[in-house]
Each structure stands twice: as C-alpha cells, then as structure tokens.
Amino acid sequence: MAQHRAPRKHVGTWIVITVLLAAAVIGTLWVPFYNHLTPALGGFPFFYWYQLMWVPIVAILAAVAYLLSRLAHRGQAVNGQSADNDMRGEG
C-alpha cells in the first residue's frame, strides 16, 4: 500500500462538489422542514411540491458537480500524468 500522494490540486473543487451534493441530501432528509400542508402550490400541499421540487434541483446540482469533476480531471491530465494512473484524490 505504499503510495506517493501528489499534492491535491483540486481540493477546492472537490469541496464545492461535496457541498452541492450534501445540500440535496440534507434538504430532502430533514423531514421537520417540510412536514406540513401549507403553503400549497397548484393544489399540491407543501409536503409534496417541496419534495418534487428537489428532483430538478438535484439534477442541476449533479450536472454542475459532474462538470466540475471533469474540469478537475482535465486539469490533472494536463499536469503531465496520464489519466490512467492518476493518483490524486478524487471522490
């Protein structure tokens, strides 16, 4: 398991990705936050439209996280290491 870790060049990017993804998890798992009927929207009680609203949001968050991860990855490849044995911390 001896490994030589190159310095993490993209720590900032990965922190942003983590925050984006964690937001989706907390926003939908914290039940007391949305466990009520009002305000209703288009006939939907709050409980329902709030959670359904998170579906497009998580898609957008994941898309942004995906683009950021690709950028970080490209940066690593440019730095002279082939993507195949890239050791830098990701994921």
Partner: protein, 552 residues
Amino acid sequence: MSGNAIALTIVIIMFAVVTLVGFAAARWRQAEDRLHLNEWGLGGRGFGIFITWFLLGGDIYTAYTFIAVPALVYAVGALGFFAVPYTIIVFPIVFVFAPRLWSVSRVHGYVTPADFVRGRYGSHGLALAVAVTGILATMPYIALQLVGIQAVLTVLGVHGDWPLIIAFVVLAGYTWVSGLRAPALIAFIKDTLIYVMIIVAIIYIPEKLGGWSHIFSNAGTHLAQINPKTGKPFGSLTVGPTAVWAYASLALGSALALFIYPHAVTGVLASRRRYAIRFNTAILPAYTLMLGFVALLGYMALAAPGVPQAVKANGANAQLAVPFLFQKMFPPWFAGVAYSAIIIGALVPAAIMSIAAANLFTRNIYKEYFNPDATPAQQTRVAQAVSLIVKLGALIFVLALSKTFSINLQLLGGIWILQTFPAIVIGLYTRWFHHWALIAGWAVAMAYGTIVAYGTPAAGVPGSHFGASTANVPGFNHTVYIALTALVINLVVAAVLTGVFRLAKLPAGADETLPSHYHADPPGLRRPRVPITRMTVGSPDPNGRPPVRHGR
C-alpha cells in the same frame, strides 16, 4: 369485446413484441466471444451514456415504482412518499462511490461486488458472504416484480397462476439466450411506454377527477377514516409525529442499499466509460420525477369514484389500486397500453436482477468452490442455469410472505443487502476494517435484521411475520428502518473486533488493488467485434480472469 378483453388483447400483443425483441437482442452489438461471461453478463462492458441511462433506469424503476409505492401511498398516505427522497439522495451517493467501483473493477476485471471484496481483502469468506447476501436479497426484489404482474392480471380478470408461469418461462427463455442484451434492448420499449403512460395519467386523470386540490382533499378525507383493525386513522397527508424517523430512515437506508444490489452494480459496470456514470446522476432524476407522480396515483385512486370500492371487494389488496384506477379512468385500449407498461416494467428488472445474481453465483461460488478451472463457456452455462433458479427462489418468496404490502419484499431485501455496505462501499475508501471483523459484523447484523423483521407483525394483525420493515429501536424510542439499525450494529461490531484483531496481530489478507486503480479510466474500445478480453486492462489472462493474486 368487453373493455377488459380489449385491454388484455393489447397486453398480449405487446408481450409478443417484447418477446421477439428479447430473442433478437442476442444479435445486437455482438462480439466474437459470445459465450464469455463479460458478454452474457455485462453486455460486453460497452454501453455508453444513453444506454447506461436506460439500463440503470430499468434497474431502479420497477414494479416497486408502479405498484408497491402507490399501494403504500393509497393505504397509509404520506409515509409512502419516502420513495421520493430515497430516489433523490441516491444520486449524490452514486456520484461519490460508483466511479471508484467502476475503475477498480475495470482494472482487475471484476464482474461482481464479491469479486472486488475478494481482491481487496484477500478473503474468500468475506467474498462468499457478499455473494450469498446478494443472491438472497435479490430474490424478494424479483418477487416484488411478480406481485406487480399478478396485480395487473387480477384486475384484467385473469386468475390462477398459469399466466404468471407463461410470462416467466418466456422471460427465462430470452434471458438465457440473450443475457443482459435482452433487458437493455427491451428497456427502450419499456421506458417509452412508461413515459407515455405517466404523462397521460398525470394530465388526464386529475382533469377528470376535478383537479389536484380536489384529489388531495378527497384522499385526506379517506385517510382520516378510522381503520377498524388498529383503531387509528389509516394515515394522513403528512408524516405523523411518530413516523418522522421511519420516513427519513426508510429513504436513507434504501438509498444506501440500492447501488450495492448486484443488479445495480451490473448496470454500473456495463458502462463503457467512467464519466458516463457521473453524467447519468444528472439525467437519472428524470425517472425520480416520474416516480413522484406515480406515487400520487395512489391518491388519485383514493379520490376516483369506484376504485376504493373495487379494491375493497378484492380483499382490500392495495396493490390493485393503480390497475383499477386505469381501468376506471382510461378507455380500454389505453388501459391495455398502461398495463403493458407495468408488466414489461416488471419483466425487465426481473431479468437484470436474475442475471446479476447468476453472475454472483458463477464467479464467486461455482468457480471459487466447485470448478476453479471452469472455462468461460462453462461459466456462462452455469450462470444461465442459475438465473432460472433465482427466479424460482423468487416464486417461493411470493408464496411464503404476506402480500399486504409488496413494498416490504423490497425493504426486506434492503435489510440484507445493506449489511454488505461496509465491505463494499467503505472498502472502496479504506482497508482499515479487518476482514474477519467485517464477517462478524455482517453475521450479527444479518441475524438481527432477519429476526426483527420476522418478529414484526403487520398493522392490526398480531402474530403475523415480516409485516413491516420498521421497528422500534430499544433505548431510542423511535421507529426506524431495520436495515439502518442493523447497519449501525454491523459497524460497531466490525470496528470493535478490528481493534481486537489488530491487537492480537491477526494477519490481514493481501490487497491486490492500488490507490491509483480507484481512479483509473481506461477507454473502452469501440464496439463491436473486438474480443472483450483485449479491453480488460490489467488482465493479461486471455480468459479474462483477474491477474495473479498475491500472498495466498
């Protein structure tokens, strides 16, 4: 022709089309090395973003979505909506760990999660535990698909077991011939049908029922009635104060469990490139949106005149709510299309699940313990046979367990599969846990989860077994999904014993993976017509076996 006869005719025609496509799939994107397990079991590991999307969607959105979830919403209200946060948070979770699993599996030629565990921990015992759990947990999930098909057939007036048997013989037939290619190709038809069905249903039915607010208020009135069996209301439009933990833990536990099911791992590994998986986490929520609206079909069924009565007349089987809703709301021909969507939507995942379980048995039990020198062709033959046996095992679950809430079949599978989370997912990040400690934690948690689930009666039916998937946690005074409680016990046991074993200097097995393997992104070769073995990087063996293992 009566309405049911028209609908049934359409279902039969659609089924025939799907069967033809299933057999024809064997010739789709074919490679030379047809009998290799990579081919039969992973479709040649050559699926791009788009097919991966269909394949993972087919894995996730099944009879669970169309029958089980709306049935729970129909019967108890808001609690059943936990499936929405479940299928939202699953994507961040997949985003984080699935690419690592893909990379290490591609480097070492792993086909199953147990392959990875064996390579990572150098432990046959732990790999066996993961394989057995995967096969066991898949069976009730397939059983749920059967229950879904049965619900549609019941509403169509087709009783008895023979239609189910015909459906399964055909399914087994094309799974045998085409492997993963069959469900991947049929998934196109399935998803098209399903999207059409959902869009029509969520526009047309609320219109007919007088709008969404009318549906919600009507459903609320129904749910507030007192259940004579329990003496409490059936449910409500929000989660009751005692069920908040159940709601969140069902969502979290299900989300953690989903992508360690063997069939979901299969879907991930069949992807051609690493980035295709992350890209998919941004487009798969399209299915979640659909699931959310399908869940609300449960409320539409409560609000639709005649549907609650029809369900009650059929033994109060909540699984019939959606099929009856379609029967009462749609013209017969469209009801037929919708029923076809549900049936095909159950068959595709059943095929994928049985293939994945068969891969597990072949790689990690047959080859490991019965015939270490099995040729790729022999392995494929065994996998074909086992995929059949797994389906028969699912039939036993259908017959043996209560069908009050078919969702409990899936949740029972979740209780089991989640106990492999430490070995698989945590193993992707750290090898701190000792493999014997992981086995001990797994064993304790499996026993705990099974015993508690067995001892949980259905609401209002004292003395029944496997009646619910949430139970009170002693000393915590909240009702929590048993899978999550068991996982905590699992981790505590594994951590404590790891400490003990390290003090005792018990040897930890050899690790054949390197840190860089978890980020590797070898490009897949352009398909088709290239023998799969040439693209399995790091696997010099022409049979595609993982490279030489060390220290054994």
